[in-house]
């Protein structure tokens, strides 16, 4: 069994130093790795990133993160990334990483992701330059997620997790005003994960949303924004190979 701890939207600043550390220090008892689903800071300054870095430095489990929109506010995502990496955090953007958990290869594919909206109600790469740029960025993030999940499959990972900040499905946005859904996620992320396959999809960003959702392809989605999970982190238990078994069942069902 693989135990995955995850939290997003911790929005740390100088006044939150040390707030999460006591809970994080219990991670070795209940989890094999910690995923951070973006919006780790408020403005994406290196100073705020240092607060986050100190909070997770030297933890007994691997820490894997993606950035969120807040971590881009100061337009220095490379510096934020560098500060986190110095503290031993693996920061992903359109790439994957493999963690060995007692001999089981656990792959995590990560991207910030972006908005645009959900199937049938999504923006398009059409019209003004800024609109094209907006949707192109969303598509680019989703493509990075798909290719990195495929790479993790080819590397023989027994468990694969998709990690983003923006949401792949509207399910986990329930509680947010409908009017802002296009700013909260994109169906392109769900399509990417349904194409490449994964055991779990973890995201944040929707503070007023709900924890549980499902892609059309049957991948479990969890919104781990801290205001949603109301804890320092959530823990999910996964059985290696469950994704393959589910796919085999679906194929058998379809061919019947």
């Amino acid at each position: 069994m693989i135990r995955i701890a995850a939290v997003g939207d911790i929005h740390m600043g100088p006044d939150s130093r040390g707030v999460l550390r006591p809970a994080f220090e219990t991670l070795h008892e209940c989890a094999d790795l910690l995923l951070l689903a973006g919006d780790l800071t408020r403005h994406g300054t290196p100073e705020e990133a240092r607060v986050v870095a100190d909070e997770v430095a030297g933890l007994p489990v691997p820490v894997i993160a993606v950035l969120g929109n807040h971590d881009h506010q100061d337009e220095r995502p490379e510096e934020v990334t560098a500060v986190l990496r110095e503290a031993g955090v693996t920061v992903l953007e359109g790439e994957g990483t493999v963690v060995d958990v007692d001999g089981t290869a656990v792959g995590v594919a990560g991207t910030k992701g972006f908005g645009g909206g959900f199937a049938g109600r999504s923006g398009s790469e059409f019209g003004e330059r800024v609109m094209k740029d907006f949707m192109r960025h969303s598509r680019h993030c989703a493509e990075g997620l798909r290719t990195s999940l495929e790479e993790l499959r080819d590397q023989g990972c027994a468990v694969r997790v998709a990690l983003t900040h923006f949401s792949p499905v509207p399910d986990t946005l329930a509680g947010e005003p409908l009017e802002i859904y296009p700013f909260l996620g994109s169906y392109l992320l769900a399509e990417a994960v349904d194409t490449a396959g994964a055991d779990l999809f973890v995201h944040g960003h929707a503070h007023a949303g709900t924890e549980r959702g499902l892609t059309s392809g049957g991948v479990r989605v969890r919104n781990v924004a801290q205001p949603v999970i109301r804890r320092a982190f959530a823990v999910y238990h996964l059985e290696p190979g469950a994704d393959r078994r589910r796919n085999a069942d679906a194929l058998a069902e379809a061919s019947r």
Binding site: R3, D9, I10, H11, M12, G13, D15, S16, V19, L20, P22, A23, T26, C30, R42, H43, H70, Q73, P177, D199, L200, H207, A208, R220, Q226, P227, I229, R230, R231, A232, F233, A234, V235, Y236, H237, L238, E239, A242
Partner: protein, 95 residues
């Protein structure tokens, strides 16, 4: 203008003003030092209700101060909780 006409037009003007003031409040919360985007700000009748989760008590105080400043003269109710940073006591099985 008669009194009756005054009564007819004033509430409408008030409603429009509150709508824009909520817009300005939302902008200010984002650009203030707390960069807060997660508050739900809604007009209910002539009262404005602000709900959401703040990362720390300091952030909550800042949000409440900005709300009071920006909506001075408007009846306001806030229900802002601070994020819970305790370790979880359970996990979810996703077999």
């Amino acid at each position: 203008m008669t009194d009756r006409e005054n009564r007819r037009t004033d509430p409408a003007e008030g409603a429009v003003a509150i709508e824009y003031r909520i817009g300005h409040l939302q902008e200010r919360l984002v650009h203030e030092e707390i960069a807060e985007q997660g508050m739900r700000i809604e007009a209910r009748g002539d009262t404005v209700v602000v709900t959401g989760t703040a990362p720390t008590t300091e952030c909550r105080e800042t949000i409440e101060r900005v709300v009071r400043e920006e909506l001075a003269g408007v009846p306001v109710r806030t229900d802002i909780v601070v994020a819970d940073s305790t370790a979880p006591d359970r996990s979810e099985e996703l077999a």
